[in-house]
Symmetry: C2
Subunit: 243 residues, 2 copies
């Protein structure tokens, strides 16, 4: 039973998606996590199709990723995912990232809600059904929490949501948020430092044609808060720690 609770997924890092230093990126890791989460849920009867038949969809609410080593070209990655718990409106899903030597190089935690496709509002979860798969495997990183409002700082850049930014629900893709946020950092930052923790909180949905503003505020020597705003209201906040 423990086995069936934990999903195991295998990836080979795509050389054409590596960053300029030949390392995998936070958005790439995000793609792996979301891919594994989708399949893990679908294989246990609460995936996209089942939700869609019920006029509902899973929405990623918060995500925290901690990485101790960034794999390079064509490395084999094993990704484990499991459900930590489910409550009335939110379920927590954890991840562990392991390299080809069997060494863990990262963990992630995510919080998900199920929205009604018409009202776009959260709906009660099937707590009992989800908790059948509840697993007490350890995920030793801090839960995603409240992120300070970086939108008090002036906007560094703006962008308009375009075709390539959209996901299957017609909203700004969860991964594209990450790309736009990280693009606020100068290339030197990526040369000198490495991201140890990336945390994101999705507040409301970015839509096609929306003009969005990007904000960044330094809170400690190696810690930044960020926000993506529409009409001065944050639709997303994020926090990044560097080493």
């Amino acid at each position: 039973m423990e086995k069936s609770k934990i999903g195991e997924f295998h990836f080979v890092t795509e050389s054409y998606l590596l960053d300029f230093q030949g390392k995998i990126t936070i958005p790439m890791i995000g793609t792996y996590l979301l891919h594994a989460a989708s399949i893990h849920a679908a294989e246990r009867g609460f995936g996209y199709n089942e939700m869609n038949n019920d006029h509902r969809a899973w929405v990623l609410s918060r995500l925290a990723i901690e990485i101790t080593r960034y794999p390079g070209m064509w490395e084999n990655i094993t990704l484990y995912t499991w459900i930590e718990d489910a409550a009335w409106l939110v379920t927590n899903r954890c991840f562990e990232l392991v390299d080809s030597k069997g060494e863990t190089f990262g963990y992630a935690r995510s919080m998900w809600a199920a929205i009604d496709l018409n009202t776009r509002r959260p709906t009660p979860l099937d707590v009992e059904g989800l908790n059948v798969y509840k697993c007490d495997r350890s995920c030793p990183i801090e839960k995603p929490g409240k992120i300070g409002p970086a939108e008090k700082s002036p906007a560094l850049d703006t962008f308009t949501v375009k075709y390539s930014d959209l996901d299957v629900n017609g909203h700004l893709n969860s991964i594209k948020y990450m790309e736009h946020l990280l693009d606020m950092f100068d290339i030197d930052q990526f040369t000198r430092k490495e991201i140890t923790r990336f945390e994101i909180s999705y507040i409301s949905e970015g839509k096609y044609g929306m003009d969005l503003a990007l904000h960044k505020e330094q809170v400690l020597a190696d810690q930044y808060n960020m926000a993506i705003c529409h009409n001065d209201k944050a639709i997303c906040r994020a926090a990044v720690n560097w080493r």
Copy 2:
């Protein structure tokens, strides 16, 4: 021997990378092609590492993709790739995309050059070595060719090359060119039509911080030429046919 000439790769479409209509996109297909090309070359002794040891790198020069049906969520895709021929400075690589029913839904053709990492100039290929893997499997689509200069039309948009746009060589990622180009089309175009052929010609390398301008020109009812320019010079041209 024929078997070892043809590389076979398997993908499952990532739900989080599908477009707003739940279909795979040209940039996603591009990622699959480049991933397969990299591994196919590496497994036959002329991959990134071998080239890098020789202070050289493969550079994608031209690519044409023709698609008759766009797979949706979690479809299994089999991708075949093989070398059509190799000449002094250029080698041609072909691709065939097959769905889970064994039906071909697309073909692609690519042209590659090997540049010297210092001079960034093309270097002579190991024609004999490459032609050991030459394969006469059929790839029934037109070769990528000359594309008219869309930069005569006024720029529709501009963008600056950022961290997430870069590839492992520190230049504008081949896939990101495609995203920026397709984003020139209005969302309605993707709702009403489907891309039957996408062709791209990479002329020179986009670098970090470069300000680039996007141009589009309609040449026939369902055919467009596009260009990405730096200081009014095209660094890339593309052509798209819709149905």
